[in-house]
Amino acid sequence: MTIFEISKPNRIGFELPENNIEDFELNIPEHLIRKEQPNLPQVSELDIVRHYTNLAAKNYAVDVGFYPLGSCTMKYNPKINEKIANFEGFSMIHPFQPHETTQGALKLMFELKEMLCEITGMEDMTLIPSAGAHGELTGMLIARAYHLSKGDTKRTKAIVPDSAHGTNPASARMAGFEVIEIKSGPDGRVDLEELNKALDENVAVLMLTNPNTLGLFEKDILKISEMVHEKGALLYYDGANLNALLGRTRPGDMGFDIVHLNLHKTFSTPHGMGGPGSGPVGVKKHLAKFLPIPEVIKEDDKYKLNYNKPDSIGFIRSYYGNFSVLVKAYAYIKTMGNDGLKKVGQMAILNANYLRKKVEKIMDIAYPGFCMHEFVSTCEKFTKETGVKALDIAKRLLDYGVHAPTMYFPLIVHEDFMIEPTETESKDSLDKFAEILAKIFDEARENPDFVKNAPYNTPVKRLDDVLASRKPVFKFDFGK
């Protein structure tokens, strides 16, 4: 039931204290005064508590079980970080308080920026972008500003591999670039010949995810970096998969000029049903002057915000970013430290390779060989034989109490799962997942229709996506 159906006229959920101030008559033109009150719920406090508690119970979450969504890094979200972000000194401060009264917040941002520079091998960083895609847009605007600052107006193209996240081409276009997609090679990596063909003096930037979305390290990265820079273009790093590289190498060491991070992936801040995240952007020194406004600076042991950056790409949102997400990432880095972060990368890779070995017995691995933090498996042949699709297997996984992996992505593999276990899962949970997956394939062989109609044990059965978009219902119908 929706909260609107629970609602009863004149029921209330909250009372306000009086402020002892006289009542002023509205000094507003009559036609600008609201006549009809919005249909907001009228419910008691307990109604609200039960409604949202029952809604939450219909959700799957990392805290419920295994959530191997590839490229999303659904690792454990430490509880201490939530607690710290809710400290009043962090949550109850206004962005325009005098700097003298927010030294703690500014110091935290300054130090986080330095720590993230160390982890990525970059030389300066902005913490303002609100999400990964927002970071991509910021990074691509920096690339644009860089070329324009040199009077180079013909660099209108951005190269993106066909295995890239959809946000890459979308962000490149929003930054004003024409997107050139290059085909991956037979080994799932950048095809150097394809790249060479696409690289000309009109290319501004190559966007790369490394390891890529197939969980494969771009082993020719140093060569790629050389090729790109030789042509005067920049190399952009999509940090969605940074988790794999922790403790081993850094985007800055591989020749990347611009890097965006996803603090809600690598740095454990929760995904919150889709956000808020945070997408800091790091750059090498020659690009630092283009970073967005404002920047946090340190002068004589005092922290300040600098708005005077004439070459900056400008504002990319209001205020200073998703500050409480930054607090959580800061707490995470302090918790893990040098020793912990190194283990993160290693265990993420160990888990992915172990699970790949297990899944290999059930599905085909799209690109055999060792993987990094994730791998892609496909049941294309199985689908042809039985009619049971990856989608059906995914839905049946839900019945067994695990979340399905990312499906039908990257687009260059068909009927596929992209599986990322992360370092916070135990061997037991990986074993259990492999066991369930094997069982489902057995079920599909024996009774394909049964699996095609899954799920059965979920709060609702399989939902009709097609109807939902063909005859869209955008909001509750009050029957007016």
Binding site: P38, Y52, F90
Partner: protein, 439 residues
């Protein structure tokens, strides 16, 4: 090992054996090793981390909300306890985008209800399930307007939040969309004559704040009447005010966006808040962001899914309506819980108390000889001439526990010694009288 990493050495050995390698090192095929150690301290236990962050947190001054008279887009309101308790449910917090709808009905229904509430507040037909903030919501609204009518000139009221204007410029420039500013009158409202002079065949949209950055309530009706039919009317609004102001949807708005932080979200030093984004059904396919819709399962039971995804980046890639992927869904949940708690009456009371408090402060300031900059109708913020050296005085006030009206002179030189005052329902008569002692 580590409290967040469960592997025992024994398990690691078994796993390596299963993979068929001797060490983890063997898995890094052709991945260069470029670092031995990070120049970072080693990890710490949770009590030490907490202690360190407690001390950082204490270096920030927390003002008593009743002594805060700063707004400018981020507001202090009473937040019922149920909001924090319910929104901290880890089945919301640790879930991701509802890709598997059957196990995400909590997220989907909460967002569907949020969309409904935003449509009710604005009297618009469709809401998406969130943008990052008010500034990016406006920037994306302009890009959407350009997609709708294929025109490339935006006319924007100079009285819009300056950071929203700057953000819009950043988004519009690479698309070769031009932004022209429209003057304000001595009332602080949009100069309709200036607007008429600047509208031409290439005008895509007109943007005004409602209330605007100066707190002034724009006459949307008269602005709408000056617009040619195909010009998109974008209204940037503040949701609390909409419980006493006529809904923009009733006054001809095509797109209504804004910052939703005031609806139950703590100020968080400016983020995360949430951008809300509403429009008319006929424009929905040009809209950015995720939209949740109602549907049925195979047994005919009601359920919710993400809809019209062919607009989005994961399907349409370079041709998507926006690059947005992660949004601010958890903040939308907070908005929905807050609006459920307040109800229509509570929200109206919040708005009216804020109105009363700010008008009381304005009246008292005028009695003391301070002049309001504009004489147009205002909601809960207003500009006034705060006198010589106001910036220094403001800092002094903060040492006395008052976050006074914001001095605008630093960022807007033409407003030297002008302050933007804000009151909400948390300010009491006593706290306002106390503030007035400094004037």
């Amino acid at each position: 090992m580590h409290r967040y990493i469960p592997h025992t050495q024994e398990e690691i050995n078994e796993m390596l054996k299963e993979i068929g390698v001797n060490s983890i090192e063997d898995l890094y095929v052709s991945v260069p090793k470029t670092i031995e150690d990070y120049n970072l301290e080693n990890g710490k236990d949770e009590f030490s981390v907490k202690k360190e962050l407690l001390s950082l947190n204490k270096k920030n001054k927390v003002f008593e909300p009743e002594n805060i008279f700063a707004g400018a887009g981020i507001y202090f309101h009473y937040i019922p306890s149920v909001v924090e308790t319910l929104a901290n449910n880890q089945r919301f917090v640790t879930a991701y985008t509802p890709y598997q709808a059957e196990v995400s009905q909590g997220t989907l229904q909460a967002l569907f209800e949020y969309q409904t509430m935003m449509c009710e507040l604005t009297a618009m037909e469709v809401a998406n399930s969130s943008m990052y903030d008010g500034a990016t919501a406006l920037a994306e609204a302009m890009l959407m307007a350009a997609r709708i009518n294929g025109k490339s000139k935006m006319l924007i009221a100079s009285s819009i939040n300056p950071e929203y204007l700057q953000t819009s410029k950043t988004y519009c420039t690479p698309q070769n969309i031009e932004i022209q500013k429209i003057k304000w009158t001595e009332n602080g409202t949009l100069d309709v004559n200036d607007l008429k002079n600047k509208i031409d065949d290439n005008t895509s949209a007109v943007v005004v704040g409602y209330p605007n950055f100066f707190g002034i309530i724009e006459d949307l009706k008269s602005i709408k009447e000056t617009l040619p039919e195909n010009v998109i009317f974008i209204v940037v609004s503040e949701p609390i005010s909409l419980s006493i102001l006529e809904a923009p949807g009733k006054l001809g708005a095509d797109i209504v966006v804004g910052e939703g932080q005031a609806l139950g979200i703590t100020p968080n030093f400016g983020g995360p808040g949430i951008g809300f984004f509403t429009t008319l059904q006929k424009f929905v396919r040009k809209m950015p962001g995720r939209i949740i819709g109602e549907t049925k399962d195979i047994e005919g039971k009601k359920g919710y899914v993400m809809i019209l995804q062919t607009r989005e980046q994961h399907i349409r890639r370079a041709k998507a309506t926006s690059n947005i992927c992660s949004n601010h869904a958890l903040m939308a949940l907070i908005n929905a819980i807050y609006m459920s708690a307040m109800g229509p009456k509570g929200l109206k009371k919040v708005a009216k108390m804020s109105y009363n408090a700010s008008h009381y402060l304005a009246k008292k300031l005028e009695e003391k000889g301070y002049h309001l900059i504009f004489n147009g109708p205002f909601f809960n913020e207003f500009l006034f001439n705060a006198g010589e050296n106001y910036y220094e005085k403001w800092k002094k006030m903060s040492e006395n526990g008052i976050l006074g009206p914001l001095p605008l002179g630093k960022s807007m030189p033409f407003f030297k010694n002008v302050a933007l005052a804000c009151c909400t329902e948390v300010n009491t008569k006593e706290s306002i009288d106390n503030l007035l002692k400094h004037f």
